[in-house]
Protein backbone atom coordinates (compact mmCIF):
# COMPACT_ATOMS: atom_id res chain seq x y z
CA UNK A 1 0.00 0.00 0.00
CA UNK A 2 2.69 2.41 1.00
CA UNK A 3 4.78 1.52 -2.00
CA UNK A 4 1.88 2.30 -4.29
CA UNK A 5 1.44 5.71 -2.72
CA UNK A 6 5.09 6.55 -3.25
CA UNK A 7 4.82 5.47 -6.86
CA UNK A 8 1.73 7.57 -7.42
CA UNK A 9 3.39 10.60 -5.91
CA UNK A 10 6.49 10.22 -8.07
CA UNK A 11 4.37 9.65 -11.11
CA UNK A 12 2.57 12.92 -10.45
CA UNK A 13 5.86 14.76 -10.03
CA UNK A 14 7.23 13.32 -13.23
CA UNK A 15 4.09 14.10 -15.20
CA UNK A 16 4.16 17.67 -13.95
CA UNK A 17 7.84 18.00 -14.82
CA UNK A 18 7.30 16.60 -18.30
CA UNK A 19 4.44 19.04 -18.86
CA UNK A 20 6.53 21.94 -17.65
CA UNK A 21 9.33 20.93 -19.99
CA UNK A 22 6.86 20.76 -22.87
CA UNK A 23 5.75 24.25 -21.97
CA UNK A 24 9.29 25.59 -21.64
CA UNK A 25 10.04 24.16 -25.03
CA UNK A 26 7.15 26.07 -26.60
CA UNK A 27 8.44 29.24 -24.96
CA UNK A 28 12.03 28.92 -26.07
CA UNK A 29 11.90 27.00 -29.30
CA UNK A 30 15.21 25.39 -30.09
CA UNK A 31 15.12 27.01 -33.51
CA UNK A 32 18.04 26.18 -35.69
CA UNK A 33 16.31 26.79 -38.97
CA UNK A 34 15.36 23.19 -39.62
CA UNK A 35 11.64 22.47 -39.47
CA UNK A 36 10.63 19.60 -37.26
CA UNK A 37 13.84 19.58 -35.26
CA UNK A 38 13.54 20.33 -31.59
CA UNK A 39 15.36 19.42 -28.45
CA UNK A 40 12.63 17.29 -26.92
CA UNK A 41 13.13 18.42 -23.35
CA UNK A 42 10.19 16.34 -22.17
CA UNK A 43 12.00 13.23 -23.36
CA UNK A 44 14.49 13.88 -20.62
CA UNK A 45 11.82 12.98 -18.10
CA UNK A 46 10.81 9.92 -20.11
CA UNK A 47 14.43 8.71 -20.15
CA UNK A 48 14.83 9.28 -16.43
CA UNK A 49 11.51 7.56 -15.75
CA UNK A 50 12.59 4.62 -17.89
CA UNK A 51 15.67 4.18 -15.75
CA UNK A 52 14.15 4.90 -12.39
CA UNK A 53 10.64 3.50 -12.73
CA UNK A 54 10.79 0.97 -15.53
CA UNK A 55 9.36 0.68 -19.01
CA UNK A 56 5.70 0.34 -18.00
CA UNK A 57 5.63 3.56 -16.02
CA UNK A 58 7.67 5.34 -18.67
CA UNK A 59 5.10 4.32 -21.26
CA UNK A 60 2.23 5.55 -19.12
CA UNK A 61 4.09 8.77 -18.44
CA UNK A 62 4.91 9.32 -22.10
CA UNK A 63 1.32 8.84 -23.24
CA UNK A 64 -0.08 11.00 -20.44
CA UNK A 65 2.42 13.71 -21.24
CA UNK A 66 1.74 13.70 -24.96
CA UNK A 67 -2.04 13.71 -24.66
CA UNK A 68 -2.07 16.42 -22.00
CA UNK A 69 0.48 18.70 -23.64
CA UNK A 70 -1.18 18.09 -26.99
CA UNK A 71 -4.48 19.39 -25.67
CA UNK A 72 -2.90 22.27 -23.81
CA UNK A 73 -0.26 23.56 -26.21
CA UNK A 74 -0.96 22.09 -29.62
CA UNK A 75 -3.61 20.64 -31.84
CA UNK A 76 -5.29 17.26 -31.83
CA UNK A 77 -3.43 16.39 -34.97
CA UNK A 78 -0.06 17.00 -33.42
CA UNK A 79 -0.89 14.40 -30.78
CA UNK A 80 -0.86 11.82 -33.56
CA UNK A 81 2.62 12.86 -34.63
CA UNK A 82 3.90 13.00 -31.10
CA UNK A 83 2.42 9.63 -30.19
CA UNK A 84 4.02 7.96 -33.18
CA UNK A 85 7.39 9.45 -32.33
CA UNK A 86 7.08 8.99 -28.59
CA UNK A 87 5.93 5.37 -28.65
CA UNK A 88 8.45 4.19 -31.22
CA UNK A 89 11.21 6.03 -29.40
CA UNK A 90 10.22 4.58 -26.04
CA UNK A 91 9.94 1.05 -27.44
CA UNK A 92 13.46 1.24 -28.89
CA UNK A 93 14.85 2.77 -25.72
CA UNK A 94 13.24 0.10 -23.53
CA UNK A 95 14.69 -2.69 -25.67
CA UNK A 96 18.18 -1.16 -25.75
CA UNK A 97 18.12 -0.52 -22.02
CA UNK A 98 17.08 -4.09 -21.34
CA UNK A 99 19.93 -5.42 -23.46
CA UNK A 100 22.26 -3.53 -21.18
CA UNK A 101 24.97 -2.99 -23.76
CA UNK A 102 24.30 0.73 -24.05
CA UNK A 103 24.67 3.55 -21.55
CA UNK A 104 22.14 6.33 -21.06
CA UNK A 105 23.83 8.19 -23.90
CA UNK A 106 23.23 5.44 -26.42
CA UNK A 107 19.71 4.75 -25.22
CA UNK A 108 18.84 8.43 -25.40
CA UNK A 109 20.41 8.84 -28.84
CA UNK A 110 18.44 5.90 -30.17
CA UNK A 111 15.37 7.45 -28.60
CA UNK A 112 16.00 10.76 -30.34
CA UNK A 113 16.59 9.11 -33.69
CA UNK A 114 13.51 6.90 -33.54
CA UNK A 115 11.36 9.74 -32.29
CA UNK A 116 12.10 11.49 -35.56
CA UNK A 117 11.71 8.30 -37.59
CA UNK A 118 8.26 7.69 -36.09
CA UNK A 119 7.14 11.19 -36.91
CA UNK A 120 8.49 10.94 -40.43
CA UNK A 121 6.60 7.69 -41.00
CA UNK A 122 3.34 9.37 -39.95
CA UNK A 123 4.18 12.32 -42.18
CA UNK A 124 4.69 9.94 -45.11
CA UNK A 125 1.37 8.21 -44.45
CA UNK A 126 -0.46 11.52 -44.15
CA UNK A 127 1.04 13.10 -47.25
CA UNK A 128 0.98 9.75 -49.05
CA UNK A 129 4.36 10.18 -50.61
CA UNK A 130 7.87 8.98 -50.10
CA UNK A 131 9.35 12.24 -51.32
CA UNK A 132 9.88 13.31 -47.71
CA UNK A 133 12.57 10.63 -47.63
CA UNK A 134 15.12 13.25 -48.63
CA UNK A 135 14.61 14.63 -45.16
CA UNK A 136 15.74 11.42 -43.46
CA UNK A 137 19.44 12.25 -43.09
CA UNK A 138 18.65 15.62 -41.53
CA UNK A 139 16.29 14.06 -39.00
CA UNK A 140 18.63 11.18 -38.20
CA UNK A 141 21.57 13.43 -37.48
CA UNK A 142 19.37 15.81 -35.53
CA UNK A 143 18.10 12.84 -33.52
CA UNK A 144 21.62 11.78 -32.63
CA UNK A 145 22.58 15.27 -31.52
CA UNK A 146 19.47 16.07 -29.49
CA UNK A 147 19.48 12.53 -28.10
CA UNK A 148 23.05 12.96 -26.99
CA UNK A 149 22.28 16.26 -25.25
CA UNK A 150 19.31 14.67 -23.49
CA UNK A 151 21.56 11.72 -22.62
CA UNK A 152 24.13 13.97 -20.96
CA UNK A 153 21.49 15.69 -18.85
CA UNK A 154 19.75 12.40 -18.03
CA UNK A 155 23.07 10.95 -16.92
CA UNK A 156 23.62 13.85 -14.56
CA UNK A 157 20.07 13.60 -13.26
CA UNK A 158 20.35 9.87 -12.69
CA UNK A 159 23.65 10.34 -10.88
CA UNK A 160 22.04 12.80 -8.51
CA UNK A 161 18.88 10.78 -8.06
CA UNK A 162 21.28 7.90 -7.36
CA UNK A 163 20.04 5.99 -4.40
CA UNK A 164 16.47 7.26 -4.35
CA UNK A 165 14.06 4.48 -5.17
CA UNK A 166 11.06 5.73 -7.06
CA UNK A 167 9.02 2.65 -7.63
Amino acid sequence: MKKNTVRTAWFGVFTALALIFSYVETLIPFQIGIPGVKLGLANLIVVVALYKMGAKDALLLSVTRIVLSGFIFASLFSILYSLAGGLLSLAVMAVLKKRGSFSVFGVSMAGGVFHNVGQLIVAMLVVETFSVAYYVPVLLIAGVITGFIIGVVSNEMLKRLGSIVLS
Binding site: F105, G106, T129, S131, I141, V144, N155
Partner: protein, 134 residues
Protein backbone atom coordinates in the same frame (compact mmCIF):
# COMPACT_ATOMS: atom_id res chain seq x y z
CA UNK B 1 15.99 -3.99 -9.45
CA UNK B 2 16.57 -0.43 -8.55
CA UNK B 3 18.76 0.25 -5.60
CA UNK B 4 21.59 -2.27 -5.41
CA UNK B 5 22.12 -2.77 -9.10
CA UNK B 6 22.12 0.91 -9.84
CA UNK B 7 24.74 1.64 -7.26
CA UNK B 8 27.81 -0.52 -7.49
CA UNK B 9 28.89 -1.70 -10.93
CA UNK B 10 26.61 0.46 -13.04
CA UNK B 11 27.64 3.67 -11.40
CA UNK B 12 31.21 3.36 -12.63
CA UNK B 13 30.18 2.34 -16.10
CA UNK B 14 27.73 5.21 -16.51
CA UNK B 15 30.01 6.97 -18.96
CA UNK B 16 29.93 6.88 -22.72
CA UNK B 17 30.26 3.28 -23.85
CA UNK B 18 31.84 1.92 -26.98
CA UNK B 19 28.45 0.68 -28.13
CA UNK B 20 27.06 4.20 -27.90
CA UNK B 21 29.72 5.42 -30.27
CA UNK B 22 29.03 2.54 -32.64
CA UNK B 23 25.34 3.40 -32.58
CA UNK B 24 26.02 7.05 -33.35
CA UNK B 25 28.36 6.16 -36.21
CA UNK B 26 25.84 3.67 -37.56
CA UNK B 27 23.11 6.29 -37.66
CA UNK B 28 25.47 8.73 -39.36
CA UNK B 29 26.36 6.07 -41.90
CA UNK B 30 22.69 5.36 -42.62
CA UNK B 31 21.98 9.04 -43.08
CA UNK B 32 24.99 9.22 -45.37
CA UNK B 33 23.54 6.42 -47.48
CA UNK B 34 20.19 8.18 -47.65
CA UNK B 35 21.90 11.40 -48.64
CA UNK B 36 23.92 9.69 -51.35
CA UNK B 37 20.78 7.92 -52.55
CA UNK B 38 18.99 11.23 -52.75
CA UNK B 39 21.79 12.82 -54.73
CA UNK B 40 21.79 9.86 -57.10
CA UNK B 41 18.06 9.64 -57.70
CA UNK B 42 17.51 13.35 -57.97
CA UNK B 43 20.16 13.49 -60.64
CA UNK B 44 18.61 10.60 -62.49
CA UNK B 45 15.20 12.18 -62.55
CA UNK B 46 16.61 15.46 -63.68
CA UNK B 47 13.90 17.90 -64.58
CA UNK B 48 13.32 20.36 -67.29
CA UNK B 49 15.06 23.57 -68.13
CA UNK B 50 12.98 26.59 -68.93
CA UNK B 51 14.49 29.21 -71.17
CA UNK B 52 13.10 32.68 -70.69
CA UNK B 53 13.94 35.58 -72.91
CA UNK B 54 12.82 39.00 -71.79
CA UNK B 55 10.51 37.44 -69.21
CA UNK B 56 8.77 35.16 -71.67
CA UNK B 57 9.22 31.40 -71.68
CA UNK B 58 10.39 30.53 -75.15
CA UNK B 59 11.33 26.91 -74.63
CA UNK B 60 11.19 24.10 -72.08
CA UNK B 61 13.63 21.27 -72.65
CA UNK B 62 14.21 17.89 -71.06
CA UNK B 63 17.59 17.62 -69.38
CA UNK B 64 17.95 13.99 -70.38
CA UNK B 65 18.73 14.78 -73.99
CA UNK B 66 22.21 16.11 -74.56
CA UNK B 67 22.52 18.96 -77.00
CA UNK B 68 23.92 22.43 -77.62
CA UNK B 69 22.15 25.19 -79.48
CA UNK B 70 22.02 28.91 -79.99
CA UNK B 71 19.21 31.03 -78.68
CA UNK B 72 18.06 34.61 -78.93
CA UNK B 73 19.22 34.97 -82.51
CA UNK B 74 22.67 33.58 -81.76
CA UNK B 75 23.72 35.76 -78.83
CA UNK B 76 23.88 32.84 -76.39
CA UNK B 77 24.68 29.15 -76.64
CA UNK B 78 23.02 26.75 -74.24
CA UNK B 79 24.49 23.34 -73.60
CA UNK B 80 22.75 20.36 -71.99
CA UNK B 81 25.10 17.65 -70.85
CA UNK B 82 24.92 14.86 -68.22
CA UNK B 83 21.52 16.05 -67.08
CA UNK B 84 22.87 19.52 -66.43
CA UNK B 85 22.55 22.72 -68.35
CA UNK B 86 25.01 25.55 -68.73
CA UNK B 87 25.56 28.62 -70.81
CA UNK B 88 28.36 27.62 -73.13
CA UNK B 89 28.82 30.99 -74.77
CA UNK B 90 27.44 34.50 -74.69
CA UNK B 91 28.27 37.67 -76.53
CA UNK B 92 28.00 39.89 -73.48
CA UNK B 93 31.10 41.59 -72.07
CA UNK B 94 30.97 40.30 -68.50
CA UNK B 95 30.55 36.57 -69.27
CA UNK B 96 29.09 35.98 -65.81
CA UNK B 97 26.57 33.43 -67.02
CA UNK B 98 29.24 31.51 -68.91
CA UNK B 99 31.38 31.21 -65.82
CA UNK B 100 28.49 29.95 -63.74
CA UNK B 101 28.46 26.24 -62.93
CA UNK B 102 26.13 23.88 -64.78
CA UNK B 103 22.77 23.59 -63.01
CA UNK B 104 20.50 20.59 -62.57
CA UNK B 105 18.49 21.01 -59.38
CA UNK B 106 15.01 22.33 -59.02
CA UNK B 107 14.89 26.10 -58.71
CA UNK B 108 18.47 26.72 -59.76
CA UNK B 109 18.99 29.28 -62.46
CA UNK B 110 21.54 30.92 -64.69
CA UNK B 111 20.84 34.48 -65.63
CA UNK B 112 22.34 36.49 -68.43
CA UNK B 113 21.38 40.00 -67.58
CA UNK B 114 22.60 41.94 -70.63
CA UNK B 115 20.60 39.69 -72.99
CA UNK B 116 17.70 39.23 -70.55
CA UNK B 117 17.97 35.46 -70.69
CA UNK B 118 17.11 33.17 -67.78
CA UNK B 119 17.74 29.43 -67.70
CA UNK B 120 15.76 27.92 -64.89
CA UNK B 121 15.33 24.34 -63.71
CA UNK B 122 11.72 23.41 -63.21
CA UNK B 123 10.50 19.90 -62.75
CA UNK B 124 7.01 20.03 -64.18
CA UNK B 125 5.59 16.54 -64.34
CA UNK B 126 8.82 14.96 -63.20
CA UNK B 127 8.07 15.92 -59.61
CA UNK B 128 5.15 13.53 -59.46
CA UNK B 129 7.30 10.73 -60.80
CA UNK B 130 10.02 11.63 -58.38
CA UNK B 131 7.68 10.76 -55.56
CA UNK B 132 6.47 7.45 -56.92
CA UNK B 133 9.65 5.81 -58.23
CA UNK B 134 10.99 2.76 -56.39
Amino acid sequence: MSYKENKSPEEKASGFKKNDLILALLVLAVSGIFFAGHLFTSQKNAGVVEIQIDGKVVETLDLKKERAFKINGGTNTVQIENGKVKMAAANCPDQICVHQKAISRNGESIICLPNKIVLKIVDGEEAELDAVTN
